[in-house]
């Protein structure tokens, strides 16, 4: 495989074209402060300005150097952002001003700078990253000791720990790196002349730092870095051009959370970079509960790896070597780097140390064992026993067990031979070994042996061992202790590992179940917030954009949850970029909340803000991944709900289209006829009231009343129509008893037709619909009204409700004239009144059309069927969903 495939070449070319647009970064790299980076940068800017390019100084520190300050003359400078921190005033680079100004090129000095709390990003390089993403070209300056991967080397060379570091991956974004070089002798000269800015606080460390040996070494590092950069550029260039490149095998660093972990990560990065290979860092979680300090170191190392541009992965399994090899084979890893592990002598003797196992089983892999720095972790993994008693408790337990064994032995001494007594002690050792740790088991074994030897083994009351049997007993005690405790440890480990995995699985399962019972976005957010709060043991708020695009809290647990403005800022950022922000992250981490996005870039579904007690440290890696998984699940549920909502919207829309077309023509008829009789009757009353006999007056009054009510119903219908027509019809679904809907509609009908007989047949059980009750009631009422109008006097209208599989059928049966078969489908069309037209008393074609609209919007249907013998049956069919778990 020496020839890269065409696809690989095309990809590389594409990459490089894409990068050309985003890699608009120029870094002026120096070996030490004072070599003239700022000076070089400003000179370059002046040259650009002369060429007519829009270049702006975002922030440059002159440190009072006059020759530098002189260069600023004539260059546009952005005002700085004033920051008050702990009562003192500072100024910072103003990122928003820079984004608003949008120059072609901007100068921002001191790439490694750490922003004061309260800014958008923690570090200046993040500010610059945002500028680059906005398409602004950036010039910046950096000293080589601030490079993350060189951190250890710089410390070893200079004995100075540099805290402000820049991820190496950031350097890779630079199109150009300009090495600003000054021979060490000249730099020291400048220093002596006071031309190098040094913070007052650092004068003590100064002499040590600026020693000729240090400067030579730093200079070498700087040159190395630039050379390395040129190399990798060249390589990519070659690949893009189709040149042959060896297949790059990944480099994997295996870390265990002991003190050398970060060191290993840096080494891995260096090795990978030299080989031009991608790299990752793995930790094998054997399920053993980690000590706090160790898990913190582990997290720190993982974070470092991500910052340096490596992938991180957590493998789970009991056998570390097997997991690593399996992972390596899966991911095409060619080299594994690991630290010299603190091996148990016994394991090494048996050839079962990690290194040995890897060597034996991973023969195809290249293994690199790194000698760790002098400091050695003293702490040793101590397994916490589930429900254990702690250190001292274990020894007390062991001593008690030994004493019991003694007691028993004194009694048994009368009946058993001395050799058999050792079995009692052996039992004690086994019991202790199984219940505690190896050290305690050995302690018990020794105690038992001494006691056994002293009190029981002849010669008694001496520590002499007279015969071979007793030597055997001692060995047996020890072997039993070791074997049993090893087994018990392994078992406990597995139990612990299972328990944790189980707890996480349970949290996810519970969330899934609860999410599946929530039908709308609001419910999902509520359930999600509660589940997150429960699983992470923190306070949770879920935010989403409202109609006016403002991000606000829509669900929270506990109920009252006030976000600070910093939290809201982090939430805004996170929602927009679909990335984490706030506490425990690199972005806006002055916010008290840890903000996680619920959706991806394209679907903005809001964010979840998690607030932990302020004293609590960063969540461990597996807690983090649990939170992320849960947030993902919630996002998916929201996405599902959104799709369902859109589907429902489309359905409402479809019904709407059918209805709106013939609306206008109805207005004149349906509104004017009742008005005509009302105005007429009232006019008659007003003009001739006195001359009319009382019964006629009453008749006219009742006509006004009746027509008024009729008008009210029409207006209701028209309102429903326009609501359907303008898409403002929002289905306010609620669980509703079908019987109650029938009751409400028939009650209204009885008011309108006091003499009508209505027979209602309801099933014995309660049928729950998930509908907008008022709309279904209106639909049913329209059908009932229609049936009542066409029913001959004395004949009942029947309403029959019955469940039919996962649907409910509501039949309205009248004994009227019936509808010819070929017209049945058309009666639901707007203003279609069966061959009666205006002859039908107060007939309107609107009611049934609306009925179909309402039912259709709920995913149901309505149809006309022949009645029993004569008349018509109108059948409403609606879905009958299973209600969420019953509590009744």
């Amino acid at each position: 495989m020496s020839e890269p495939t065409r696809e690989a070449r095309a990809d590389a070319l594409l990459d490089s074209m894409q990068e050309e647009r985003t890699r608009r970064l120029k870094i002026f790299l120096g070996a030490a402060p004072g070599v003239g980076k700022t000076f070089a940068m400003l000179s370059a800017a002046r040259e650009l300005k002369r060429q007519g390019i829009d270049v702006v100084v975002g922030l440059v520190e002159t440190h009072g150097r006059q020759e530098t300050a002189a260069l600023l003359d004539g260059l546009e400078q952005l005002p700085r952002r004033a920051v008050n921190y702990k009562g003192r005033d500072f100024t910072e680079f103003d990122l928003d001003a820079a984004l608003a100004r949008r120059p072609d090129i901007i100068l921002v000095d001191e790439l490694a700078h750490t922003n004061l709390p309260g800014g958008r990003h923690e570090r200046r390089w993040q500010d610059i990253a945002e500028l680059l993403e906005a398409g602004i070209e950036v010039y910046t300056a950096l000293n080589v000791q601030h490079l993350e991967s060189l951190n250890d080397q710089v410390r070893r060379i200079t004995n100075v720990t540099v805290r402000e570091t820049v991820p190496d991956a950031f350097l890779d974004r630079a199109r150009d790196i300009v090495l600003v070089d000054l021979p060490p002798r000249e730099l020291i000269q400048r220093l002596k002349q006071g031309k190098v800015y040094v913070p007052e606080t650092a004068t003590a460390a100064l002499d040590a730092f600026f020693s000729p040996t240090n400067l030579v070494a730093l200079r070498e590092l700087a040159v190395d870095t630039v050379a390395g950069h040129v190399d990798s550029d060249l390589r990519e260039h070659m690949l893009a051009r189709g040149g042959a490149m060896p297949v790059r095998r990944r480099v994997l660093a295996a870390i265990d959370g002991h003190s050398q972990s970060e060191y290993l990560v840096r080494i891995a990065r260096r090795i990978a970079e030299r080989r031009g290979a991608p790299w990752s860092v793995a930790f094998v979680d054997t399920g053993v509960a980690l000590e706090k300090s160790r898990s913190e170191r582990l997290d720190a190392a993982m974070r470092l790896a991500r910052r340096l541009g490596g992938d991180t992965v957590i493998l789970r399994g009991h056998a570390i070597a097997d997991e690593l090899i399996a992972h390596a084979d899966r991911e095409g890893i060619g080299q594994i780097i690991l630290g010299r592990t603190r091996e148990r002598p016994l394991a090494r003797m048996l050839g079962r140390s990690l290194t040995q196992l890897l060597l034996r089983r991973g023969a195809h892999l290249e293994l690199t064992i790194i000698a760790t720095p002098a400091e050695r972790a003293k702490s040793r993994l101590r397994l916490r026993m589930p429900g254990g008693t702690g250190r001292r408790g274990e020894y007390i337990y062991a001593t008690l067990a030994t004493l019991v064994a003694f007691g028993l032995s004194f009694i048994a001494d009368r009946y058993l031979s001395v050799a058999n007594l050792s079995l009692i002690f052996l039992t004690a050792v086994l019991v202790v070994a199984v219940r505690t740790r190896m050290a305690v088991a050995v302690y018990t074994a020794l105690l038992c042996f001494i006691g056994y030897n002293f009190f029981f083994a002849p010669p008694r009351y001496t520590l002499m061992i007279a015969n071979f049997d007793d030597v055997l007993a001692v060995s047996l005690f020890l072997v039993a202790a070791l074997v049993a405790s090893r087994l018990a440890t392994k078992l406990a480990t597995q139990v612990e590992s299972l328990r944790m995995a189980h707890a996480q699985a349970r949290a996810l399962l519970a969330l899934g179940q609860r999410l599946s019972t929530s039908t709308d976005a609001e419910g999902i957010r509520r359930v999600g917030a509660a589940a997150l709060a429960h699983a992470m043991r923190c306070e949770v708020a879920v935010l989403a954009r409202d109609a006016s695009q403002v991000l606000r809290v829509v669900a929270s647990s506990p109920r009252d949850f006030d976000l600070t403005s910093q939290d809201l800022g982090a939430a805004e950022w996170s929602e927009k970029h679909a990335e984490q922000a706030g506490r425990f992250t690199d972005t806006l981490n002055a916010a008290p909340c840890w903000v996680l996005p619920l959706g991806s870039d394209e679907n903005h579904l809001g964010v979840a803000a998690l607030r932990f007690p302020s004293g609590q440290g960063e969540p461990a890696t597996d807690e983090r991944s649990l939170a992320l998984t849960m947030v993902q699940d919630i996002g998916q549920a929201l996405q599902r709900a959104r799709l369902a909502e859109e589907l429902e919207g489309a359905r409402v829309q479809g019904e709407t289209e059918r209805l709106r077309n013939a609306l206008l023509s109805s207005v004149s008829h349906d509104l004017r006829s009742p008005l005509a009789s009302m105005i007429g009757s009232a006019g008659t009353l007003s003009s001739y009231g006195d001359q009319l006999p009382p019964n006629e007056r009453q008749e006219l009054l009742e006509a006004i009343l009746g027509e008024g009510q009729r008008l009210d119903r029409y207006i209701q219908n028209l309102l429903d129509m326009t609501r359907l027509g303008h898409g403002t019809l929002k289905l306010n679904r609620d669980w509703t008893d079908a019987a109650e809907i029938v009751a409400a509609a028939t009650t209204r009908l009885r008011k309108l037709f006091p003499d009508l007989k209505v027979d209602i047949e309801l099933p014995p059980q309660t049928l729950l619909l998930y509908v907008h009750p008022a709309l279904i009631e209106q639909a049913l009422f329209n059908i009932l009204e229609n049936a009542a109008r066409f029913s001959p006097p004395g004949q009942a209208v029947r309403v029959v409700v019955r469940p039919k599989g996962e649907q409910i059928q509501i039949d309205v049966i009248d004994r009227g004239p019936g509808i010819p078969e070929d017209e049945r489908a058309r009666i639901f069309d707007m203003f279609y009144s069966v061959s009666r037209g205006d002859r039908a008393p107060q007939g309107t074609g609107l009611g049934l059309a609306i009925c179909r609209g309402m039912i259709g919007a709920h995913g149901g249907s309505v149809e006309a069927l022949p009645g029993d013998g004569i008349g018509t049956t109108i059948r409403i069919t609606l879905p009958l969903p299973a209600p969420p778990s019953n509590h009744a």
Partner: protein
């Protein structure tokens, strides 16, 4: 009661004020009329009416605000006037302390019936009803026992709780949220299906037909009302 009960009508529509004025006076009430919130509140404060009829939509302020202000200093019964299809408005008003509502357009007889029920409750009704008995259904709230047609009726805890809560507010509507909150707890105010199932069971046990209810009347979209089955 020395003088006629006094009813304050706050509604911006002159026609509605007029017919309410005529109708209420015909029933023997003394009537106070206000066309906006400010006048209405002033009259309520100075003339201490026995009952207030309040329109939800007023020109100067929302009826809800007027209600809230009234409730700061008086427990006078309030009937809200609302339009149909505004169930959420009705529920909001009831939760904010309104005693009942009437949907526009309404017949004068319906309004008078509601009015009488509220006036009755205000005058005679003892603070806590201990026993209800209409000859067919008997409920003893003290002993938590229910008899139907003389036979003891066995109800589940939830069924009894719903019945008792409705009975304590007999004649008045109890919102679905109130029922859920008081019986199932604040976290279940959205779980209306619990309530529907319990009411359904309760009706079965009482032999109460929802379409012609004797005791448990559904107020669509709002809640339930215990009506005296006499």
């Amino acid at each position: 009661m020395t003088s006629a009960p006094r009813v304050l009508v706050i509604d911006d529509e002159a026609q509605i004020r007029k017919f309410l004025d005529i109708g209420l006076r015909a029933e023997g009430y003394e009537v106070l009329l206000a066309a906006n919130a400010a006048d209405g509140l002033a009259l309520a404060a100075t003339r201490s009416p026995d009952l207030v009829i309040l329109d939800i939509g007023l020109p100067d302020r929302e009826g809800h605000e007027v209600l809230a202000e009234l409730r700061q200093w008086t427990q006078v019964p309030v009937i809200m006037l609302s339009v149909r299809d505004a169930e959420s408005e009705k529920v909001k008003a009831l939760d904010a302390g309104a005693n009942d509502y009437v949907t526009k357009p309404f017949g004068i007889q319906e309004l008078m019936a509601r009015l009488r029920a509220l006036m009755r409750g205000r005058q005679g009704e003892p603070e806590a009803m201990q026993r209800y008995d209409d000859g067919r259904l008997a409920i003893d709230l003290g002993r938590r026992e229910v008899w139907l047609e003389g036979e003891p009726l066995s109800l589940t805890r939830k069924e009894y709780a719903v019945l008792a809560l409705l009975l304590r507010h007999a004649g008045r509507v109890v919102t679905q949220q109130q029922l859920l909150r008081e019986i199932w707890g604040a976290t279940h105010t959205h779980d209306s299906h619990y309530l529907r199932i319990v009411v359904g069971k309760l009706r079965q046990k009482l032999g109460d037909d929802p379409t012609t209810p004797r005791w448990l009347k559904t107020e669509p979209g709002v809640g339930y009302r215990f009506i005296s089955g006499s």
